[in-house]
């Protein structure tokens, strides 16, 4: 019987190797499949995350839109053609592919510490704190906090201590005077649009790609949810515009195992709280 045992070991070894190989092949396939699924999932999550990051900025800025401006001031009305685009929180070139607006990025404001009557010979004024005001940027002055109905937009030509000087070309009603305590805010024009297959954000500091391989579109609504036609009229911006619906479609960085790069679309409607508040 012992002689018969020779050969059993080799058979056992072959069976063991066979079994082990079968298990390893299955396991490897499983691991590779899981990794691939995980990779695809990560790809999608990355893509969604990229859109979310873009949305986070866009939502935050659109919500704040107009916070820098004398909106709601009857002597600085968006419907006053003589003020050009100075009194428009949302610019009239905004359409389905472009959103152009004014914003105070830092969320800071200061006040006039002495009255200011702008004129060609009087372009400087004192503020409580000029740390957020910079040369060549726009500022707005609003006297709603002092009981007035006026506004002004100017381009800062100089800052010295707490003295701010604006350039000789500025927009306001003739003869306007701003009382001590009027609000002074820095303002920046921001534009979101599509460019070369990406969503870009442009301001005076330059152009930044917010999301590559993505497109953005905008729709405009009044407080009842009715769509407003573009281009937006000054009256619509002044009296009706209450929300903007933003849609972003983005294609993932990498193709999935089916050979296709997945596309994701997210839509969000953002209320324009400062425009809405200005109408009460």
């Amino acid at each position: 019987m012992k002689a018969n045992d020779y050969g059993n070991a080799i058979m056992s070894l072959i069976v063991s190797i066979g079994l082990f190989t079968t298990i390893m092949v299955g396991t490897t396939k499983f691991v590779f499949s899981s990794t691939r699924n995980s990779y695809d999932l990560e790809n999608r999550i990355d893509n969604t995350g990229n859109i979310e990051k873009a949305f986070k900025l866009i939502t935050s800025e659109i919500k704040m839109l107009g916070s820098s401006m004398p909106i709601g001031q009857s002597n600085f009305s968006p419907e006053d053609l003589s003020l050009g685009d100075a009194s428009l929180a949302v610019h009239t070139n905004s359409n389905a592919g472009i959103l152009s607006f004014n914003i105070n990025e830092t969320g800071k404001s200061t006040i006039l510490t002495s009255s200011f009557t702008p004129g060609l010979g009087n372009l400087s004024f004192q503020v409580d704190d000029a740390s957020d005001i910079f040369e060549n940027e726009n500022i707005y002055i609003s006297d709603f906090t002092t009981g007035g109905n006026n506004g002004l937009r100017g381009s800062v030509s100089g800052v010295s201590g707490n003295t701010v000087t604006i350039a000789g070309i500025f927009e306001t009603q003739l003869g306007t005077s701003f009382a001590t305590g009027s609000l002074v805010t820095r303002s920046m024009e921001v534009e979101y649009r599509n460019s070369d297959g990406a969503i870009v954000r442009e301001d005076t500091a330059g152009t930044v790609i917010l999301a590559p391989r993505a497109t953005i579109s905008f729709a405009y609504f009044d407080s009842n949810g009715n769509a407003l036609s573009v281009p937006l009229s000054r009256a619509a911006i002044n009296n009706s515009l209450s929300a903007i619906r933003v849609t972003i479609t983005a294609t993932a960085d990498n193709v999935e195992r089916n050979g296709i790069a997945r596309t994701i679309t997210l839509t969000r409607t953002i209320s324009l709280r400062n425009l809405i508040l200005s109408r009460y």
Partner: protein, 498 residues
């Protein structure tokens, strides 16, 4: 045991080790990826939640202001007469109690202090200070659930509704303002002191002026006499000039005696009592049989103003001219204050002796008379120095707690040209047989009209009873505009994430 069998020993554990290692590697890789994404998502979620939490809290503050607007109207007291007793204007700067890194430049201070009216829910944002006037704004504010956010509500400024009628602080010798003021608040909300969302906006309070009722009793009104109205600026009261605008209001019950008629409206946050002996008519016109009912509003949905608030007497008159005794000399004495400032328009006691007359003339400077003592045959006569000007008398005490139309004689003028602000607590009685024309405000005392005479004018009192036998006519020409409410509106909002 064979050699091969010996060699096989331990192979199974090796296979298990290898398999476990491979699976563990795959799992770790997946978990790592998932953890990174979860953290990123969590951060985004937190940031978004912080924004909404701060914004929600800012709206909560706005709603608190709106919910308590009537109480805050009384508490802040931005009325023309009281404003400079309540507040000072300073150059824009940081107040003593607004001491944090987030201090906002403000122009207004509580009178005689360097504190700005401010409410905080956490002392890291400064120290609360707020006018009280019957409403504890601080405890009400701090009882609100602000979602763990830090909140500061600060009154940045107060703006005269008619800037041309603000003559500057009376402490500097200026004439008292002839305009009410409205507040400008700034509200700051932040998740934490140094991080998270920081949101702030401005809240403008629009003063709502309403007409004071012709006859108002805070606790109750008892009309045992009917009433109607007329406009003294259009001439004397006659049955052809009478009108049906005798408006009666109360924060408590209103009782109209059966058989009597109020030609006007009744408004109470309580009820109009109709059980006997009450239940008199309320008519919209003089048509016989009262086919057209006047308006009656009962219950908490009805709006009645709060009583006017006043300062302590020592605030109005930190010093005075002492006593004035009108007892000898000629037939009368004319009294004209030298200036708006104490002691020039303040007296401790003015006594008018029998058969003596003291004539008041000034319609631009109020008279502050702590104790007014008019002998039975003494006369306080009113001769306004402008055709429709109003002579205003502030007093703490009228000796005897009663007077008649002979003692305070205003019947040569329109009733509204004499306004008595009675700040005492002893109930007051108007009696006698001589017609009387006057407007009286008595926030701390009941007033009873009990004589056999015709009353022309208006009365606001803690409680009010008409029990005389003459007639009662509200003078619409003296209809006072009072601040009945403040409507709060949120304007420009700013935010950043730190």
């Amino acid at each position: 045991m064979s050699f091969m069998e010996n060699r096989e020993r331990g192979s199974a554990i090796l296979v298990v080790f290898i398999l476990t290692g491979v699976i563990a590697l795959a799992l770790a890789s997946s978990l790592n990826t998932a953890a990174t994404q979860i953290n990123a998502t969590k951060n985004t979620k937190n940031q978004i939640e912080n924004y909404y939490s701060a914004e929600n809290t800012l709206n909560t503050v706005l709603n608190w202001l709106r919910d308590n607007s009537i109480e805050l109207t009384a508490s802040l007291d931005l009325s023309a007469h009281e404003f400079y007793y309540m507040y000072d204007f300073v150059s824009f700067g940081n107040a003593y109690n607004d001491s944090s890194n987030f201090a906002a430049p403000t122009r207004i201070r509580m009178n005689g202090t360097n504190n700005v009216p401010m409410l905080v829910n956490n002392n890291s944002l400064g120290t609360s200070a707020f006018p009280s006037n019957g409403f504890n704004a601080l405890s009400s504010f701090q009882a609100i659930n602000f979602n763990n956010n830090l909140v500061r509500l600060v009154m940045v400024d107060a703006i005269p509704t008619n800037p041309g009628k603000d003559y500057g602080d009376i402490d500097n010798g200026n004439q008292a303002p002839e305009t009410d003021f409205y507040p400008v608040f700034r509200v700051d909300v932040m998740n934490q002191l140094n991080q998270g969302t920081y949101l702030y906006g401005f809240i403008i309070g629009s003063v709502v002026s309403g007409s004071a009722f012709g006859f108002f009793g805070e606790d109750y009104v008892e009309m045992r006499q009917g009433c109607d109205s007329y406009q003294s600026d259009n001439g004397s009261y006659t049955t052809s000039s009478r009108r049906a605008n005798c408006d009666v209001g109360s924060g408590g019950p209103i009782r109209v005696l059966g058989g009597e008629t109020v030609y006007g409206d009744l408004t109470t946050t309580n009820s109009v009592e109709t059980t006997s002996p009450w239940g008199g008519d309320v008519c919209a016109n003089f048509t016989t049989g009262c086919p057209d009912q006047g308006s009656t509003c009962e219950g908490t949905n009805c709006s009645v103003p709060t009583m006017p608030t006043y300062q302590q007497w020592s605030t109005y008159c930190p010093s005075d001219l002492g006593n004035l005794n009108v007892s000898g000399g000629g037939m009368g004495t004319i009294l004209t204050p030298a200036s708006f400032n104490a002691p020039d328009n303040c007296w401790n006691t003015i006594r008018i002796g029998s058969n003596r007359t003291l004539t008041l003339t000034s319609t631009s400077i109020p008279y502050y008379i702590n104790t007014l003592d008019i002998a039975n045959n003494g006369v306080l006569e009113l001769q306004p120095d402008s055709p429709s000007g109003i002579i205003e008398i502030y007093t703490m005490d009228i000796v005897g707690d009663r007077f008649n139309g002979n003692q305070i004689f205003n019947m040569n003028n329109n009733p509204y040209q004499l306004k008595i602000h009675y700040l005492g607590t002893d109930d007051l009685t108007l009696n006698g047989t001589v017609d009387m024309g006057v407007f009286i405000v008595a926030p701390n005392a009941g007033v009873t009209v009990s004589g056999n005479f015709d009353f022309y004018g208006g009365i606001q009192a803690k409680n009010l009873t008409f029990s005389g036998s003459g007639s009662v006519h509200y003078d619409e020409s003296g209809q006072a505009e009072v601040i009945s409410d403040i409507q709060f509106t949120l304007r420009n909002m700013f935010q950043n994430y730190r």
